[in-house]
C-alpha cells in the first residue's frame, strides 16, 4: 500500500517544507479552496473518515455541527496530547511530517469555518514542539498560514500549545480547559465543544492522525479513499506496537488489518520465539485479549465484537513471562496518578483498586479480594464523569475476566507466581 501518513519518513529532512513540497505537499490546499466548505465536509463524509483519537467518531458529523452553529470565531484544535500508555503513533507525524498535519488543519479549518487553530501538544514531546514551530513558521513564510492563504482570502492561524503532562488533558473538554488556562478537568456535556468549546465558541477537536488524513481525501477523492481498509471504517491507520515483538514500531496499514497479522507478519512475531500470553490492542485502558483471541480485524466496528476496542491503535504485546497482576497494577497506578479528582468514584476508586492489586502482587492478597476488586470496579463502571474512571474499572474487570486464575494463584500462594524467587 502506498504510504499516506508516513510518506517520506526515510528522508532525514522530511520535516522541511521544501522536501514536503517536493513530494506534492500543500497542493491540496488550493484544490480544496476550489470547493465550498460544505462540499469538503460532504467529501469527508463520503470518505467514511472516523476520528483516530480513540472513540472513532465520524469526522464529518462533528464538522457539520460546528460549522452550522451560529457563533464566531470557531476554533480547530488538534489533539496531540498522545498520553495513553503504549501510544506513540502521532509522534512520527509530529516530528517527521509536520507539514502534512498543517496542510490537513488548513483544509479542515476552511471546511468548518475556523480561522484559528491550536495544536495541543503533549508536554513530553519537546522535540515535536521545535519541529512544529519551525514548520509553522515556514508555512507562514510561504503564505500557507495567515490572513490570505493562497490569495483566496482564507484566514487560518495556527499556534502550538504545550501541555504540562496530564493524561486527562487528552480528553477533549479537559484539553479545552487546559488550553484556556484552567485546571485540566473534563467539562459537563452538553454543551458539546462543537457548540460551546474553546473560549465558549464552537470548536472541533480532532486527533493528529485524523487531520493528517484530510489532504489525501482531497487528493484522491472520497471514493478512492474509502476503498482502503475496512468497509465500515476505511482509510489508512497507524498502529504502534510495543512489547515483546521482534520489530516494535509504528506501522501504517489499512484499517482493519487483523491483529494476529500485525504481530506475526508485520512485527516479526514474538521476541525470542517465546509464547504470546496476551495483547492490549488499543492503549492501556482498552480490554486485554488473551493469546487465543487475536484474530480480530483492528477497526472501530469489529473490535467491540471481539471483546475489546481499537482505541488509539496502541498494541501492547506480552509474552509468557509477564505477570498480569503486575501489569494490571501498573495500569491502575497510572490511572490513579492521572485521575483528575473531579468525580468521586474515579478519585477514590482508582487508588483503592491499585492498593488491592498491589497487595495481591506483593503476596498480601486476602480471600475475597478478587470479589472486592470486581465489586469496587462495578461501583465505578458507568458512574464516572469521564471515560478515564470507566477505563480503570474496565481494565480491572477484563484482566480478572481473562486471567482470574493468575490472580487466585497470587492470593493462594501469597506471592507473585511469575517471579522466580
Amino acid at each position: 500500500m502506498e504510504k499516506v501518513l508516513l510518506k517520506n519518513m526515510e528522508n532525514p529532512n522530511s520535516a522541511d517544507i521544501n522536501e514536503y513540497k517536493k513530494i506534492g505537499g500543500y497542493k491540496n490546499i488550493p484544490k480544496a479552496f476550489e470547493f465550498q466548505p460544505k462540499e469538503i465536509i460532504e467529501e469527508v463524509k463520503l470518505s467514511g473518515l472516523r476520528g483516530r483519537g480513540g472513540a472513532g467518531f465520524p469526522v464529518a458529523m462533528k464538522w457539520t455541527f460546528a460549522s452550522a452553529y451560529p457563533n464566531f470565531p470557531k476554533y480547530l484544535l488538534c489533539n496531540a496530547d498522545e498520553g495513553e500508555p503504549g501510544t506513540f503513533k502521532d509522534r512520527p507525524i509530529l516530528e517527521k511530517n509536520p507539514h502534512l498535519l498543517i496542510e490537513g488543519m488548513v483544509i479542515s479549518g476552511y471546511a468548518i469555518g475556523a480561522e484559528y487553530g491550536y495544536i495541543y501538544l503533549r508536554g513530553e514531546y519537546p522535540h515535536a514542539k521545535d519541529v512544529l514551530n519551525k514548520a509553522i513558521a515556514q508555512a507562514y513564510d510561504n503564505g500557507l498560514l495567515g490572513d490570505n492563504i493562497f490569495n483566496k482570502g482564507v484566514r487560518f492561524h495556527l499556534t502550538v500549545h504545550q501541555g504540562a503532562g496530564a493524561y486527562i488533558c487528552g480528553e477533549e473538554t479537559a484539553l479545552i480547559e487546559s488550553l484556556e488556562g484552567d485546571k485540566g478537568q473534563p467539562r459537563i456535556k452538553p454543551p458539546f465543544p462543537v457548540n460551546v468549546g474553546a473560549f465558549s465558541k464552537p470548536t472541533v477537536v480532532n486527533n493528529v492522525e485524523t487531520l493528517s488524513n484530510v489532504p489525501y481525501i482531497i487528493e484522491v477523492g472520497s471514493e478512492a479513499y474509502s476503498k482502503i481498509g475496512s468497509q465500515e471504517c476505511p482509510g489508512p491507520k497507524l498502529y504502534c506496537v510495543s512489547g515483546h515483538v521482534e520489530k516494535p514500531g509504528v506501522y501504517e496499514l489499512p484499517m482493519g488489518t487483523v491483529l494476529r497479522d500485525i504481530i506475526y507478519m508485520h512485527c516479526g512475531g514474538i521476541k525470542g520465539g517465546k509464547r504470546l500470553k496476551a495483547v492490549i490492542p488499543g492503549g492501556a485502558t482498552t480490554p486485554i485479549l488473551p493469546a487465543e483471541k487475536i484474530d480480530c480485524p483492528m477497526d472501530f466496528v469489529n473490535m467491540p465484537k471481539h471483546g475489546s476496542m481499537l482505541g488509539s491503535g496502541a498494541i501492547i504485546v506480552m509474552d509468557e513471562s509477564v505477570c498480569l497482576v503486575k501489569v494490571c497494577y501498573r495500569i491502575l497506578k497510572f490511572l490513579e496518578h492521572e485521575s483528575c479528582g473531579k468525580c468521586t468514584p474515579c478519585r477514590e476508586g482508582t487508588g483503592w483498586l491499585r492498593s488491592i492489586l498491589g497487595r495481591i502482587e506483593n503476596g498480601e492478597g486476602a480471600e475475597g479480594d478478587i470479589d472486592l476488586l470486581l465489586s469496587v470496579s462495578g461501583n465505578m463502571a458507568g458512574k464516572t464523569f469521564c471515560p478515564l474512571g470507566d477505563g480503570a474499572a474496565s481494565v480491572t474487570q477484563n484482566f480478572i475476566k481473562h486471567f482470574r486464575n493468575e490472580f487466585e494463584e497470587h492470593i493462594k500462594r501469597a506471592k507473585c507466581v511469575m517471579r522466580n524467587e
Binding site: 496530564a166 485546571k183 459537563i188 452538553p190 490513579e336 496518578h337 492521572e338 485521575s339 483528575c340 479528582g341 473531579k342 468525580c343 468521586t344 468514584p345 478519585r347 477514590e348 476508586g349 482508582t350 487508588g351 483503592w352 492498593s355 488491592i356 497487595r359 486476602a366 472486592l372 465489586s375 462495578g378 461501583n379 465505578m380 458507568g382 458512574k383 464516572t384 464523569f385
Partner: protein, 861 residues
C-alpha cells in the same frame, strides 16, 4: 410545555430545567452533595445518579436537562446501590471522627449515610492522612473530611469573586488550599464555610464550643455594621452568640455575608463592655447606680436649660442605634429639651449627598434595590470601593461584571480590579475636571433631554473637552471617550457614589456633575453607607433642619402638625450640625451635649480638636456600650445595650426597613428607654410600653412611615416608598460651590483607607476581625518607600498641621505615590486626628482634601 414522568408521576414544566430541579418542583428529593443552589453545575460527586428510560447509564440529575417525554426514576435498586457505592468511596478515606467534628448534626455526608447507608469495613488499606491546618487564625481546614465537592472553590471564585482558594494537586491528592499557603490572604467572607457540606472548612471561633443541636436560640436579625443591612442568624447557647450565619433567601444578602457580619459579633460579649453607669467625681469616672446617674443627667440638663436656654444643649444620634432609639432621642431633644440641635455622623457625607440628590431627583432617588444592581448593563463607581465599604453590595457589582455588564470606575477600585473595569483614573484631586469632561461629552453625544430645566440650566454651559481632561487629569482622551461611549450606550446604568467624593473640595459641584451624568445617562443612584442605620436615623429626624419623615423644621405648617402630635411647642430655629456643635462647644456657647452611641472624639475629623471642644463643655453625657474616647471625657456615662440585646428596626441604604431582634439577654435598658427615663425625670413623659409601641408612634407621626407595622416589616413590605407616596418632589434651587484643586506635585497627602475588615472602632472590639487586620499602618507606594528608604514595617512619624502619630509603614505596589493612606479604626491612631477640615457651604460636609503629610523614619524603634 414539557411533560415528563418522575417515579410514575406526570409533571408538566414551562421550560427545560435539570432533572434535579424538576424533581424538586414535584416534591421529590434527590440526594446531592456537590450541587448547591447558589452555585453552578459541577457533576462531580455522582450522588444524584438517577435512572432515565432509554439511556443505559445512570445520569446525574443535577446536570441533565429534561426533555419531552423523559421517564425518570429516582429511587430504584440500581440508584440506591450506586449511591451506597459513592458513599463508600467518600468514606474510605474519611476519618469518621463525627464525635469530635463540629459539623456533626448538620453534616450533609452524615445525613446521606444515615439515609442510604454505606458498605463498611471493606477498606483495609491505610487512610489518607492530612493534619488539620491551624495556620489561619479564623478558618480551620480539615482536609481528611473533605469530599472534594469544590463548593467552597466555586463560591470563592464564582460568587465572592475573591479566587483565593483552589483545588491543589489532583486525583486522590486533591485538597483545598488558599493560594497564599496555610494562612488565608483573602476577603474572609466565610462564604466558603457556609457552603461546605462537611466539617472540612470551619470557623475556628466556635470550635468545640457547641453542637448544632445544642443551640438554644436562633435569632434572625440585621447586621450591625454597614448600610447594606444583611440578614444574620445569631445562634446562641448559654446566652452567648456562638455563631453567625446567613440565610438563603434573605432579601439583601441571600445566603452570603462579609467578614464583618460573619466574624464581627464578639464585641457583644466583650469584657470591656460597660456594665454600670459612671459618674465623674473629682475628675474620675466612678461607678454609680442607675437612679443616681439618671437623676443627675435630668437635673443637670434641666439646670442648663433653665440657665442658658434649650439651644445650649445638643444631641448626637447614632447610626448604629435602631430607628426607635433615634426617634425617641430626637423627640427628647425637640420636646423635653426644646432644641433642634440634633445631628449625627451622617453629616460626614451621606446626609448631604442624599439631600442634594433628592432635591434634584425627588425623595427616594437613592432608594434603589440592591439585588437589582447585578442586572444593570453598566455600573459607574465614584468615590469609594463598594467591595470594602459595603461588601455584599460590592458582590452585586462583581456579579454585574460576570453577567457581561460594564464596570466603569473613577479612580482605582482594588476590589474590582479583576472584574474588567474600564478605568478613568485622574490625578489626585482632579476629579472635578474629569467629571466635567464626562458631562460635556455626554451632552455632546445625547443632547439635553429637556426633562429637568433647572438642572439643565446649571450644566448646559459646562464645556471641558476630553483633551482638557487629558491635560489636567492625565486620563488619555481616547480612554475617556471609550468610557463615555459605554455610558452613553447603556440602557440601565447605575451610579455608585462613595463618601470620598462627598468629602472633597467642591463636593456640591461634584454632586451636581454626578447628578448630570445620572440625568443624561438616565441612571439610578446608590449612595454607599458605612453604618447600619445611617439612613434610618435621617428618616427619624435626627437632623437639625428636618423633622421625622423629612419635614423641614423651618416650615411653620409642618411644625404645627408635629406640635399637635407631640403636644408640645417646637423650637423654630434650625439646629446645629455636628460640626457646628463642636465649634459652639469650643466657643462656650454650647453647654451640654448628649451623645448616644457615637464617638465624636474619634470619628470626627480633626478629632483632637473635637476632643478639646468636648472637654470645654459644662456637661457631657455619653451613652454607649464601650468606654470610647468620647466616653472617657464624659461627666456621666450610661451603659447601653448592643444591637444583639434589643429589638427594633434598621433602615438600610436602599430604604428597606428590617427587624432587629434580641438574641441575648443583658441587664440594662435600650437606648430609648434610658432616654425616656431621663425625660420622665425632667417632667416630660415619653412613655412606651415596648419598642413596638415606639414604632407605632413613628408610623403615626412620620409621613414616610405612614401606617407601617412590624407585621409589614416582617412580611418584607417595608421597602420605600412603603405604603405612601414619595413626599417631597418640589425642587428647590440647586446650590453648588466649586472646589479648588489643592494638589501640588511632590507632596504627600493623607487619605482615609476604608478597610474591608473594620467599621468604626466597633470592629476593633471583635477579636476575630482584629486577628485579620490587627493594627493601623501607614500605607504608602513602593515609590514613596524607595525615596524615603523605608521597608515594610519600619516605624514612621506622620505629621500634618493637626498633629502627628507614629505607625509602621506598609508598602502597597498599587498605591498612588502622592498619598499616604491611613485608617480611622484603631483608637489613638486614627487618620482623623491628623485632618483639619473646612465645611462645604452647600452640603455641610467636611472637606478632607489636600491634607499635606510628612513622613519621617523613626530610628531606634
Amino acid at each position: 410545555m414539557i411533560t415528563i414522568n418522575i417515579n410514575g408521576k406526570e409533571i408538566k414544566l414551562e421550560k427545560s430545567v435539570t432533572v434535579l430541579e424538576a424533581a424538586k418542583a414535584a416534591g421529590i428529593k434527590i440526594p446531592t452533595l456537590c450541587w448547591h443552589e447558589q452555585l453552578g453545575q459541577y457533576g462531580g460527586c455522582r450522588l444524584c445518579l438517577v435512572e432515565i428510560e432509554k439511556i443505559p447509564k445512570l445520569q446525574t440529575a443535577c446536570t441533565l436537562m429534561v426533555t419531552e417525554g423523559m421517564v425518570i426514576r429516582t429511587e430504584t435498586e440500581q440508584t440506591a446501590e450506586a449511591r451506597r457505592g459513592m458513599l463508600e468511596f467518600l468514606l474510605i478515606n474519611h476519618p469518621l471522627d463525627c464525635p469530635i467534628c463540629d459539623k456533626a448534626g448538620e453534616c450533609e455526608l452524615q445525613d446521606l449515610v444515615e439515609k442510604y447507608g454505606a458498605i463498611s469495613g471493606r477498606f483495609r488499606e491505610k487512610k489518607r492522612k492530612i493534619p488539620e491546618s491551624f495556620a489561619d487564625p479564623l478558618i480551620v481546614r480539615n482536609m481528611e473530611r473533605c469530599v472534594m465537592c469544590t463548593r467552597c472553590v466555586r463560591m470563592c471564585e464564582g460568587v465572592q469573586g475573591a479566587s483565593a482558594i483552589g483545588v491543589i494537586d489532583r486525583g486522590g491528592h486533591s485538597h483545598i488550599e488558599p493560594f497564599s499557603g496555610g494562612r488565608y490572604d483573602c476577603e474572609y467572607c466565610g462564604n466558603c464555610i457556609s457552603v461546605c457540606p462537611v466539617g472540612a472548612i470551619m470557623s475556628r471561633m466556635h470550635k468545640h464550643s457547641y453542637r448544632p443541636w445544642q443551640v438554644t436560640g436562633k435569632t434572625e436579625t440585621i447586621c450591625p455594621y454597614c448600610g447594606v443591612g444583611c440578614t444574620l442568624v445569631l445562634q446562641v447557647r448559654d446566652n452567648t452568640i456562638k455563631r453567625v450565619i446567613p440565610r438563603i433567601g434573605s432579601p439583601v444578602n441571600n445566603g452570603l455575608l462579609c467578614s464583618r457580619g460573619r466574624f464581627g459579633y464578639e464585641f457583644v460579649g466583650s469584657k470591656e463592655r460597660l456594665t454600670t453607669p459612671l459618674i465623674r467625681k473629682n475628675g474620675v469616672l466612678e461607678e454609680a447606680t442607675w437612679e443616681e446617674a439618671i437623676s443627675l443627667v435630668a437635673n443637670k440638663l434641666s439646670d442648663i436649660k433653665a440657665k442658658s436656654g434649650s439651644d445650649a444643649i445638643a444631641g448626637i444620634a447614632s447610626p448604629r442605634c435602631t430607628n426607635e432609639d433615634n426617634y425617641v432621642f430626637q423627640k427628647f431633644m425637640r420636646t423635653t429639651i426644646g432644641t433642634n440641635n440634633i445631628d449625627s455622623t451622617a453629616r460626614m457625607g451621606f446626609a448631604g449627598a442624599q439631600a442634594f440628590m433628592e432635591n434634584i431627583f425627588g425623595q427616594g432617588a437613592t432608594a434603589n434595590i440592591i439585588s437589582g444592581l447585578a442586572n444593570s448593563d453598566t455600573v459607574l463607581v465614584v468615590g469609594g470601593d463598594p467591595t470594602t465599604a459595603n461588601p455584599i453590595f460590592g458582590l452585586q457589582v462583581r456579579a454585574c461584571s460576570r453577567k457581561g455588564g460594564n464596570i466603569l470606575t473613577v479612580g482605582q477600585m482594588k476590589g474590582l480590579e479583576y472584574f474588567n473595569p474600564v478605568k478613568a483614573d485622574p490625578f489626585l484631586y482632579t476629579e472635578e475636571v474629569l467629571l466635567e469632561g464626562i458631562v460635556t461629552a455626554l451632552i455632546g453625544k445625547k443632547g439635553l433631554p429637556g426633562a429637568n430645566l433647572t438642572l439643565e440650566a446649571k450644566i448646559k454651559d459646562i464645556n471641558t473637552s476630553l483633551d482638557d481632561v487629558e491635560k489636567k487629569c492625565g486620563v488619555p482622551a481616547k480612554e475617556l471617550a471609550r468610557f463615555v461611549d459605554i455610558l452613553a450606550a447603556s440602557a440601565t446604568p447605575a451610579l455608585l457614589i462613595g463618601k470620598e467624593i462627598v468629602q472633597s473640595s467642591g463636593a456640591s459641584y461634584k454632586l451636581l456633575l454626578l447628578s448630570a451624568i445620572n440625568y443624561l445617562a438616565n441612571g439610578r443612584i446608590y449612595l454607599l453607607s458605612e453604618r447600619s442605620n445611617e439612613q434610618g436615623l435621617l428618616d427619624m429626624g435626627c437632623a437639625p433642619d428636618l423633622l421625622p419623615g423629612y419635614r423641614p423644621v423651618a416650615s411653620a405648617e409642618f411644625r404645627k402638625r408635629y406640635e399637635t402630635l407631640w403636644d408640645t411647642k417646637l423650637n423654630e430655629k434650625t439646629g446645629l450640625t455636628i460640626f457646628e456643635m463642636m465649634d459652639a462647644a469650643s466657643r462656650g456657647s454650647l453647654k451640654a451635649l448628649y451623645v448616644m452611641g457615637e464617638n465624636p472624639a474619634f470619628n470626627l475629623p480633626n478629632s483632637s480638636a473635637a476632643a478639646t471642644a468636648l472637654r470645654n463643655l459644662e456637661f457631657l453625657v455619653v451613652q454607649d456600650i464601650f468606654l470610647t474616647e468620647t466616653a472617657k471625657l464624659a461627666d456621666v456615662v450610661l451603659p447601653a445595650l448592643s444591637w444583639a440585646e434589643k429589638d427594633g428596626t434598621f433602615t438600610n441604604m436602599e430604604r428597606r426597613i428590617q427587624r432587629v431582634r434580641k438574641a441575648v439577654n443583658r441587664g440594662g435598658m435600650e437606648d430609648w428607654r434610658i432616654i425616656s427615663d431621663i425625660s420622665k425625670n425632667m417632667g416630660v413623659k415619653l412613655n412606651y410600653a415596648d419598642t413596638e409601641k415606639v414604632f407605632h408612634e413613628i408610623a403615626a407621626v412620620s409621613p414616610l412611615h405612614r401606617n407601617l407595622t412590624y407585621e409589614d416589616i416582617e412580611d418584607g413590605h417595608a421597602i420605600y416608598p412603603y405604603k405612601g407616596e414619595p413626599l417631597r418632589d418640589v425642587m428647590e434651587e440647586i446650590l453648588t460651590s466649586k472646589g479648588k484643586a489643592a494638589r501640588s506635585t511632590g507632596k504627600l497627602y493623607l487619605r482615609i483607607e476604608r478597610p474591608l475588615f473594620h467599621s468604626g472602632t466597633l470592629s476593633t472590639k471583635a477579636p476575630a476581625l482584629v486577628k485579620i487586620y490587627s493594627r493601623a499602618v501607614a500605607r504608602i507606594s513602593a515609590e514613596t518607600a524607595a525615596s524615603l528608604s523605608l521597608d515594610e514595617g519600619d516605624i514612621v512619624r506622620i505629621t500634618t498641621k493637626a498633629g502627628a502619630i507614629e505607625l509602621p509603614v506598609s508598602i502597597d505596589k498599587a498605591a498612588d505615590s502622592s498619598t499616604v493612606m491611613l485608617t480611622n479604626n484603631f483608637e489613638g491612631q486614627g487618620a482623623y486626628s491628623l485632618m483639619e477640615y473646612t465645611i462645604d457651604p452647600v452640603t455641610k460636609t467636611p472637606v478632607l482634601e489636600g491634607v499635606e503629610a510628612k513622613i519621617v523614619k523613626m530610628t531606634g524603634t
